[in-house]
């Protein structure tokens, strides 16, 4: 098993005929992801990726015709919130929004609609997720992964790759790696992913990658302390050297009013039983020290 995506995933890519959408769809298909449909309004009836994927005008049609249950959005920022709503209305249960640069206010009503529908949104501005050996959805390079039993959750993109690469190099495979996105309003937060990992029989250890800003890592840590006391847990927090009041790239990564510092997050994680690494390369060693034998 795995979380979010796995053997039952049937993926529709919204914006499959765009440059980014096509590039990453090809990579997903080559990774073995069950990419069953693409969607671009006005291109219904055509095919994408050398005839391998049928394209539909609407997600509803893609769902009806192919049984798609998961979507991945590469639509530009102006249309991406609407693309999420379209997936929700079509009954898609797991939605990955890769698009970056979406105005934060646009996402407020969208995440509420997702919540009311009982669906799950990952992102926006996220790299997606990979369940090694089964499927990858989004833009995480497939080559960095290795099948295994460590669950990885992160707010970042390339930092996640760094951490995953370090794990793979050390022989520690992953059950699922999830990048939840760095925007202030995201559909799914660290704690939500931990809840999913807690119920996944194939996840035996946790890697949590966080960064400055907000208090999502602290909340996740508190939850893990209570519900996963015995699972080996390691973490890395980026931004120890970030100055206060400056937005460090991610709209969400800002220390304000003395809140959201790396120090407070590290302290919360350590108090919750996480071993916190000083560099992503130390994560495998810390996992072993935490008792992980996978």
């Amino acid at each position: 098993m795995s979380i979010l995506i796995g053997r039952d995933t049937r993926l529709v890519v919204q914006g499959i005929t765009g440059r980014e959408g096509e590039f990453h769809s090809r990579a997903m298909l080559e990774y073995g992801t069950p990419l069953v449909a693409g969607m671009t309004p006005g291109k219904g009836g055509q095919t994408a990726l050398d005839g391998r994927v049928p394209v539909f005008d609407t997600v509803a049609e893609a769902v009806r015709e192919t049984g798609a249950n998961t979507s991945c959005i590469f639509v530009p920022a102006a249309g991406a919130p609407d693309a999420v709503l379209e997936s929700v209305a079509a009954g898609i249960q797991t939605i990955f929004c890769i698009t970056e640069g979406i105005p934060a206010l646009d996402m407020i009503s969208v995440v509420e609609k997702v919540r009311l529908a009982g669906a799950r949104l990952i992102g926006p501005n996220c790299p997606g997720a990979t369940s090694p050996g089964r499927a990858k959805v989004g833009i995480i390079p497939g080559s960095i992964h290795r099948e295994g039993r460590v669950g990885v959750v992160s707010r970042s993109g390339t930092l996640t790759y760094e951490a995953v690469q370090a794990m793979t190099d050390a022989g520690l495979g992953q059950s699922t790696c999830v990048g939840i996105g760095g925007d202030p309003i995201v559909g799914t937060q660290h704690i939500d992913i931990l809840r999913l990992f807690a119920e996944d029989p194939e996840t035996d250890a946790l890697v949590l990658i966080g960064e400055i800003g907000g208090s999502a890592e602290e909340e996740a840590a508190a939850w893990a302390a209570e519900h996963l006391p015995d699972m080996p847990k390691v973490a890395f927090i980026a931004g120890r050297t970030a100055p206060e009041g400056k937005r460090m790239g991610h709209a969400g990564a800002i220390i304000s009013g003395g809140k959201g510092t790396a120090a407070s997050k590290v302290a919360a994680l350590e108090a919750a039983g996480f071993r916190v690494a000083g560099s992503p390369t130390e994560l495998p060693k810390l996992l072993r020290e935490a008792g992980y034998r996978g």
Binding site: P103, P141, G157, L159, G239, R240, T241, G249, A251
Partner: protein
């Protein structure tokens, strides 16, 4: 994007919110002219003016950037002094001049993005005029919260509830209307934060001299969502280029995220989280990062070259660390950009390059051919860059 108090007040006025009159002055003479007008206003109960530095940092009051004046002469004099200040390193280029308020009671009211609930949240307090963070520490019960509905905004009833909870007393209707106006201001401009501190009951004089109280926005702070600036005509013009480094302007032009810091090791990274991590590891290896620089996803050669120029414009930079984990970004593209940038650069700074991921092999070939110093791991790259900056051969 931060904007000045005066601009924030203009956005509030555009939404019909009550803001006492003001003028912006760039010279002591302009300040004097404005003061003359406000001192003569029969509604001005204090018969004084306030002169406030317009800078994009907090703490201007403590820095002497907010002062009163009772005469036109005094106003000119005070304005001259404030316009000569530097506050937290930023020169004061403008002052706001307005009637000094006869304050009956100060409140705090703001609306901001609440990540945890994924909704807009109002924060209100009857303890206004001081920093809300301070109230949160010293008297947390004095702060009230109210979330906007994610689909309906702030219905009238919720605005009233907020007004009653904050305790505006007989001014509850005005308080509720202002709360709704703050939300309109937020939405109309795609703001991250709209903060009124103080929101104050002030005493003014009617035409016949009788005193009258009203609730007004005495100060205003608004920050805008950078992702949404493109869809709001005119807001980009509120950017204070004076308060920015020329490097910031250049970075925006190439879609780079660049933040100048005080160290000597320039960093060029793809991805915000990895960029922060790179800085952290430089520090851990005993060095000091000179900047945060995220070249973003899918960066091509010209963006890499621009990033290099930005880093080198900082004369403190003694070494450069390039750390690229290719995903969308292709390693060979970055490598070519680095070769090109080095060919053009004026001064020779040691550079340590680490490129992994997509097309890393091609990148390695290009770098080797151009005799770049490379590193396999991020830790190694950081160590080498720190050593290079200290003049130790790497």
């Amino acid at each position: 994007m931060k904007i000045h108090e005066a601009d924030a007040k203009s956005l509030l006025v555009a939404q019909g919110l009550p803001v006492p009159a003001w003028a912006v002055a760039r010279t002591p003479t302009q300040a004097r002219e404005a003061a003359v007008q406000f001192l003569a206003d029969p509604g001005n109960a204090t018969k004084k003016v306030v002169i406030k530095a317009q800078v994009l940092v907090g703490g201007r009051g403590k820095a002497g950037g907010v002062r009163l004046a009772a005469t036109a002469d005094e106003a000119e004099d005070v304005a001259a002094q404030i316009l000569a200040l530097k506050i937290k390193g930023l020169p004061v280029r403008r002052v706001l001049v307005g009637p000094a308020a006869d304050i009956v009671k100060e409140y705090y009211l703001s609306v901001l993005l609440d990540r945890a609930t994924k909704r807009l949240m109002f924060i209100g307090s009857a303890e206004g005029g001081v920093e809300i963070e301070q109230v949160a520490v010293e008297n947390p019960d004095a702060i009230v919260y109210e979330h906007a509905d994610p689909l309906l905004g702030l219905p009238d009833y919720a605005a009233r509830e907020l007004a009653f909870k904050v305790g505006f007393g007989k001014h509850w209707k005005a308080g509720a209307a202002i709360a709704k106006g703050l939300l309109r201001t937020m939405i109309a401009n795609d703001a991250d934060l709209v903060e009124i501190n103080p929101l104050a009951v002030i005493r003014e004089h009617n035409a016949d001299g009788t005193p009258v109280e009203r609730l007004v926005c005495l100060d205003a702070k608004i920050t805008l969502d950078d992702s949404a600036l493109g869809r709001h005509k005119g807001l980009e013009e509120l950017r204070d280029l004076d308060a920015e480094d020329p490097a910031d302007v250049e970075a925006r032009r190439y879609d780079l995220t660049f933040i100048k810091l005080d160290g000597d090791i320039g960093c060029m990274v793809n991805g915000a989280g990895l960029a922060m991590t790179t800085m952290d590891l430089v520090k851990r290896a005993g060095g000091e990062p000179a900047n945060f620089l995220d070249i973003g996803g899918g960066a091509k050669a010209d963006r890499v070259a621009a990033a290099m120029r930005l880093i080198l414009e900082d004369r403190n930079v003694k070494a450069i660390l390039v750390n690229i984990f290719g995903g969308i970004t292709r390693g060979d593209e970055v490598a070519r950009g680095l070769v090109e940038a080095r060919a053009q650069q004026e001064r020779d700074v040691p550079m340590v390059v680490r490129i992994v991921g997509t097309n890393a092999a091609e990148a390695a070939e290009i770098l080797e051919e151009a005799h770049f110093v490379t590193a396999a791991s991020l830790d190694e790259a950081a160590a080498k860059a720190v050593a290079a900056a200290k003049g130790v051969a790497s």
